[in-house]
């Protein structure tokens, strides 16, 4: 059995292609079952996320397996093969194992270290289990991938620190304020990124939410979503005296908050700290406000700076993770090789048993009628001779050994097991 990965991801295919071959919802069940019927593809798991579509397979032959999976994708989604061939990659053997480990531990993700992919992979596996499309090899590989991903998460800092602007804002808020749930928050304007940051803040426990926007209808819409209170745009400065966190993203072409205004606000709030995030471009909040005591102002660039430091940090950790992947590949290969040796061991046993039985019967016939006890003794003799003879070679085949391939070859030749070969290659 050979391991094979055929698929595409955000690096090899644009969204237009990815969306065409996504296996969503009911399509997934259909696809798994269709693929199960294939002669070459013995096991399959289909992973379909917004950034990647991949089929993990156990196949009898790499070449024909790859072709039949490619044909399957093309046929199933009715997408021409030549369009697919440009985007599809395939890995087999060690590379396939490495690929699966890297996907599971989020080393292959658009944002390295993002945690969702492991869950998505587990879901894909659950689907495969539901429709019984996996066997010994993929089951083992899947379990191993999950444990490798977990090992990487605990032994490296790959998933630590925020790598998106909206999460960086929350991370900062937690270092300025100790208890976010007691803090109040104002969303000023309604840019997409600001909304995302607002959602993250609310997920971190901020409950007291104020929303203001030039178009009141939009403000009301957001207030409903965030369980917040609408503040008229003209009044927002008055509300700042009891607002701890401000996220600003209006379309205004100028500053809507000056240093003087914030200076007055800070006096009014007796210098209680304030965290202001200005996501608007052009900026809406006077950058000099950061010079005031107890006011912390971050704009898009400074948040981006934070994110970049974190990304560099992750890149360093990713190197350590790759080493772990390499180590773990060895472990899987040893297991897989022991699996490959099993047919040879069985063939050797069968052959020996065949010879023993034939010779034993021949001898019994020659010797003529005999007491049951003596026949038993002779049979016992043959069995123990055979067992003692084949024990060392079978033990060697089952053990961890580097030149197992060569050994299997030699044993097949010596014992003329040739006929069995090819069947399991």
């Amino acid at each position: 059995m050979n391991i094979l990965v055929v698929g595409l991801n955000h690096k090899t295919a644009p969204i237009e292609v990815r969306e065409k071959i996504a296996f969503g919802g009911a399509k997934l069940e259909e696809a798994i079952n269709a693929l199960k019927k294939s002669d070459t593809v013995k096991e399959n798991i289909i992973l379909s996320t917004c950034n990647r579509v991949e089929i993990y397979a156990g196949v009898t032959d790499i070449g024909s397996g790859t072709e039949s999976i490619k044909d399957f994708i093309s046929g199933f989604h009715n997408v021409p093969r030549d369009l697919l061939d440009k985007s599809l990659y395939f890995h087999s053997g060690t590379d396939a194992i490495r690929h699966m480990y890297r996907v599971a531990s989020s080393l292959d993700s658009m944002i390295v270290g993002e945690p969702q992919i492991l869950g998505q992979l587990k879901d894909a596996y659950d689907e495969a289990l539901k429709y019984k499309s996996t066997g010994v090899v993929l089951n083992k590989l899947m379990r191993k991938s999950v444990s490798v991903a977990k090992r990487i998460r605990t032994e490296t800092k790959i998933a630590e620190s925020a790598v998106s602007i909206s999460f960086a804002a929350v991370e900062l808020a937690k270092k300025i304020f100790d208890d976010l749930p007691t803090k109040s928050f104002m969303l000023l304007g309604a840019g997409e990124m600001a909304e995302l940051a607002a959602r993250n803040l609310i997920n971190s426990g901020v409950r007291d939410v104020l929303i203001t926007n030039r178009t009141i209808a939009r403000a009301e819409e957001l207030a409903l979503e965030f369980h917040g209170k609408v503040v008229p745009f003209e009044n927002f400065i008055n509300e700042l005296a009891h607002t701890d966190i401000v996220i600003c993203s209006t379309g205004a072409p100028h500053y809507i908050l000056s240093k003087d205004q914030v200076h007055r606000t800070m006096k009014e709030r007796k210098q209680k700290p304030m965290f202001i995030i200005d996501i608007s471009v052009p900026r809406n909040i006077d950058p000099q406000i950061n010079d005031l005591d107890n006011v912390y102002l971050y704009d898009v660039d400074s948040l981006q700076g934070v994110v970049e430091t974190n990304i560099q940090e992750r890149a360093k950790e990713a190197e350590k993770a790759e080493q772990i992947v390499d180590e773990e590949i060895g472990a899987f290969l040893r297991w897989h090789a022991s699996l490959a040796a099993t047919p040879t061991v069985v063939a050797l046993r069968n052959k020996a048993e065949e010879i023993r039985k034939a010779e034993f019967e021949k001898t019994i016939k020659k010797l003529g009628p005999m007491e049951e006890e003596k026949i038993k003794a002779i049979e016992y003799l043959t069995v123990s001779i055979v067992n003692k003879l084949i024990h060392p070679p079978t033990a060697a085949l089952k053990s961890d050994n580097n030149d197992k391939e060569a050994m299997m070859d030699v044993i097949r030749k010596l014992f003329q097991l040739e006929t069995e070969k090819g069947k399991d290659e």
Partner: protein, 269 residues
Amino acid sequence: MLLFELALTFYFIATISGVIEIFRGKKDTSKVSLYLSIIGFAFHTANIIVRYIEGGHIPITSMHEAASFFSWCVLILFYIHEFKYKLGLLSSFILPIVFLLMFSSSIFPREIKVLSPVLQSYWFGIHTILAFLGDAAFAMACGIGVMYLIQERNVKSKHLSMLFQKLPSLQILDEINYHLITMGFPLLTLAMITGVVWANSAWGTYWRWDPKEVWSLITWIIYALVLHLRLTVGWRGKKAAILSIVGFAFVILTFFGVALILKGKHVFM
């Protein structure tokens, strides 16, 4: 005394490992410095008990004993805060203060003195314990003030290092700093009141403009200002942190400087 040397040695190693922890690029803070300090603290406590038994009074009648007892009080407050708040890197900023106090203690002569008759009063215990606990609270406030300033600088400068991840939030540092000063200030006030009452019963005058008295008054005024400014105009955060460091500088000056350079009744030697 061997117990003292052992305590000093453990505080030294604990301080070094605490300082290393500041620069170590790991997010999880190790507790090694805390545990080392606890071993040191055990020897230190034994040392104080031995001296108490031998001298028959709280061992604070020489510079050696006073500085040692001071650092012991700081540690008690440190452990209370460490276990209550579990602030990242607290030991890295408090243990150096503890060690320096202990180190200065080691410089002074160590013989146990007989308590002079004028000090043999129940006021002696009350007055000194109040003063030492107040000073210990100010020492903690100073260490936490330094932590605040570093973290504030991290957030303001927008350069978020690993140290940023490890240090606690600005709010909690500011709150604990404030709470330590609200604890230290009444202790200092009470120490001064008991001192005045005791002075009257011992020498017949309440206030004699002894250098220690003058400098204590200055220290008291500084901390009174810290609290006043915070409550009226909101001098919190950075300003409060700086003031708590300045205040502690005066505490140290009063503690060592006045006793060593300007002689007065509080001079033990």
